[in-house]
């Protein structure tokens, strides 16, 4: 523990604290934290340093902070591009904000921890493939599918998720990306069913396509959006819902084009 005396506002430069707080908020939003949690964490971090008149406003595309440090009025704003849900990072960032506000970390240590997080290990390719396979494949059972549909859907989900991951690196806009994503989900679902048909195994295509599609559907985004609206963060919630709706429309376009071609 660091004693409280060393921790008052005079010790660190005004900008230093503010930049740390906004970087924390930005990273949290990028990892998929809820809006209210980001606003709470950032204000708690600033409060613990004796900053007054704190206002934090977070939306999925930007964070704003306005406050008064040592009698000086300050504003800071950062633009956010590209969020993807990363629970490990989310959890670690939450821990840093807690430890910093309760005085376990000083600013230098907290900054070091923050830099360390950007390099957290991801699951390797095999595990993320298996995760996508399981995530998509087991849906078939929830909708009364058989073992045959499960196997086909399991494989198709994995391939789709891998393709979609490499598609994300190409830098398309999110709408076009999801049109292509929906198309390949349908394509793999359909061609795997046909392949199984060639060796004499019949399965229901509608059940199979659900698996790969499920790995792309913005179910989490739409629920967190609605939850933000219920919690009173109307702008952030609306932005999230809007994005989710357009992802769903994109997927619908993609799958629709494919279904048009085959049916």
């Amino acid at each position: 523990m660091i004693d409280r005396e060393n921790q008052n506002t005079g010790k660190y430069g005004n900008e230093e604290i503010l930049i740390f707080a906004i970087t924390l908020g930005k990273r949290m939003l990028q990892a998929g934290a809820e809006t209210y949690r980001v606003e709470d964490s950032v204000s708690r971090v600033l409060e613990s340093q004796g900053v007054r008149h704190i206002d934090v406003f977070a939306i999925p595309t930007a964070v704003f902070i306005s406050c008064e440090i040592n009698g000086e009025k300050m504003n800071i704003f950062e633009r956010i591009k590209g969020t993807n849900i990363d629970l490990e990072r989310f959890q670690a960032l939450n821990q840093i904000s807690r430890d910093f506000s309760s005085g376990v970390y000083d600013l230098k240590k907290a900054k070091e921890e923050l830099d360390k997080i950007s390099a957290t290990p991801k699951f390797n390719l095999f595990w993320s493939w298996l995760g996508a396979c399981a995530g998509g494949g087991f849906f078939v059972f929830l909708f009364d599918g058989g073992v045959m549909e499960f196997i086909v859907s399991f494989l198709a989900s994995g391939v789709t998720a891998l393709c979609f991951n490499s598609l994300s690196k190409l830098g398309f806009s999110f709408f076009i990306k999801n049109v292509i994503g929906g198309f390949i989900a349908g394509l793999f679902g359909f061609s795997f069913v046909k392949l199984a048909g060639l060796i004499g195994l019949n399965c229901d295509i509608n059940l199979v396509i659900i698996g790969p599609l499920m790995t792309l559907v913005p179910g989490v985004a739409i629920t967190t959006g609605i939850r933000d609206v219920i919690a009173g963060d109307l702008v952030a919630g609306n932005a999230k819902i809007m994005e989710a709706v357009f992802i769903a429309i994109g997927l619908a376009f993609g799958v629709g084009i494919l279904l048009r071609m085959v049916f």
Partner: protein, 146 residues
Amino acid sequence: MDMIFKLLAGFFCAAGFSVMFNMPKRLIPCAGISGVAATLPYLLILQSGGGLILAVIAGSIAVGLTAEFFAYYTRNPSSIFTIPGIIPLVPGYSLYYAMLYLVQNNVDQAAQKGAEAVITAISIACGIAISMSIKREFTAIKNRRK
């Protein structure tokens, strides 16, 4: 037997998605269990004819409470358990059918399935919000007793 099979499916769905969302390794079983918590009331209510909305709300309340429980014991934010946990309830199936009917020029049924998807999503969010306020009341009462 069928029921147990579906619960296992719920477990692996949630666990699979938690890998996609880069969950810390030791917490993956917890994510799977919140998937089971979603599936159990959902299936029971659907089978007894309680209707879709009630089933989804009950499922997501169960997810929310399980997540709060895990959050309390592992000292983590509860939403890292709810995010994979709600996956078995997410309306991917009705969304797909809405698209399919739309492509087949069957607008009536497309609208019906689309509305079903929207209502399911709203119900999930409501369930999570309800469980969060239950937890908040619970801690308030506990603090008052002390």
